[in-house]
Amino acid sequence: MERLIVLRCPSLAREGQEGEELRRFAEVLTTVVRRCPFVQPVRLGLAVLPARAPSRFFGGERAVCDLLTDDLSDLLGDKVSLGAADGLFAATLAARGGLIVPAEGSAEFLAHLSMATLRRPELAATCQRLGVSTLGRFARLDVDRVIERFGTEGVHCHRVASGLEGELDGLRDPTIQTRLAALDEPPPLAVQPTFFGGTSLATERAQAAAWRVQRRFHPSMVQVARLRAGHDPSERAVLVPFASIGDLGTEALAPWPGQIPAPSPMTVLSTPEPVELVDPAGTPVTVDGRGLLTGVPGQIHLARSPRPDEVAAWAGPWPLTTRWWGDRRRRARLQVVTSSGVALLLGAEHGRWWMLGRYD
């Protein structure tokens, strides 16, 4: 996990009516850029920089933090704190106390912190009732139980609390870069997104093009894809605005129970469409309590098509049972190929079929 230094300016964390905080935060970034060109804003009053290069150059992470504190003292007085750790979540919390958490020590550091640091009040409240009040105790919960109780979001928090994942969703303000860029002054160079994985001329040109489109049309128009763990295709790929990116698509994907192996559908419907599935005699086919089909699929009728299609092949159903507070949500997945060669991913829930995606 990447070693990061986080810089916190608590006095600039809340936006006042004049927008003064945003301007001052831009000044902070401009100051930091002089020493560390790769600094990136996370949200108002919070910025992050990769620790490796500057600490090698300035003689250690502590030295970098001291140097930047010094640089910023004219601007902020003592209202700035810096810290270092592995991953953005731990580094942000380290910065609160001005701590340098040793490499590989993030999990241990996080273990003593309160569940409130995850910024998920419901999760924290539920865990409190279960007697789980620290990240360490939460991390020790069995991951299967976490899936059952708290779903994908809970597993994400669990991985963050365990130090397996460095970045907590929601930590970054996706608008901060564009807002900084919109200030009258040209933004410091490093505020522009620096990714595409390289620094070649072609990379720079590609970045510039994406940046121009974003400026000219709409800040959230240009997006990048990010993969994450999840049951369904719709949970596994998300598009996020170009400017708001941390480490992109680099999240190691753990095998996920209930996930249908690749290939994934090319088109994933954001709102599943109802589908009728019947056997050759016209009797509806559903999934029974044991997770088996009640009949042989013969015809499929899609919501948007005028007539039913013949089913040429099918596979499944694969059951998918998730629990939310004991309320069992029984779902199943079925792959269907129609006689015209179209392959579909269907989902069954509450005795109905839905089209979740198309293998275009």
């Binding site: 997006q223 249908i260 089909l293 596979a315």
Partner: protein, 135 residues
């Protein structure tokens, strides 16, 4: 697409630019090496000409996805069309979708490329995109 080998760190997506789609595509051609465009139903001749010229000037590749090649108002350097496809690995209640074999026709502008049909795995059982070997 990531499963088939696209490096998501090197791709950006622009969803539904609506009226400005041609401008967005032109801007993208200025910087990107490859632009994949799924245009709306009506494609003005002028917009197509501007984009083709921009791609040539910038040495970028422009791939236009349309349901009928005639909808793109200019002759393309190369036209690829899926003539037929079949899924493999899935049976009557067993297996799963594992690979798809597509018959893709290749045509060049002014007959520069010999017209032929190439079988392509999209994806192959290993998840990659490649020409079906032995053909």
């Amino acid at each position: 697409m990531a499963e088939m080998g696209l490096d998501l760190r090197r791709a950006v997506f622009v969803s539904r630019p609506r009226a400005g789609w041609a401008d967005v595509a032109a801007e993208m051609l200025d910087g990107m090496e490859l632009v994949v465009l799924h245009p709306p139903d009506r494609i003005p001749h002028g917009a197509a000409r501007v984009l083709a010229a921009r791609a040539r000037e910038r040495r970028a590749a422009l791939v236009v996805i349309v349901d009928d090649p005639r909808r793109w108002p200019l002759p393309a350097e190369v036209t690829l069309e899926v003539e037929g496809s079949s899924w493999q690995g899935i049976g009557m209640g067993d297996g799963r979708l594992s690979a798809r074999r597509c018959e893709v026709s290749v045509r060049g502008r002014h007959g520069k490329v010999r017209e032929r049909i190439v079988p392509i795995w999209l994806p192959s059982p290993a998840g990659t995109v490649r020409v079906v070997s032995g053909s």
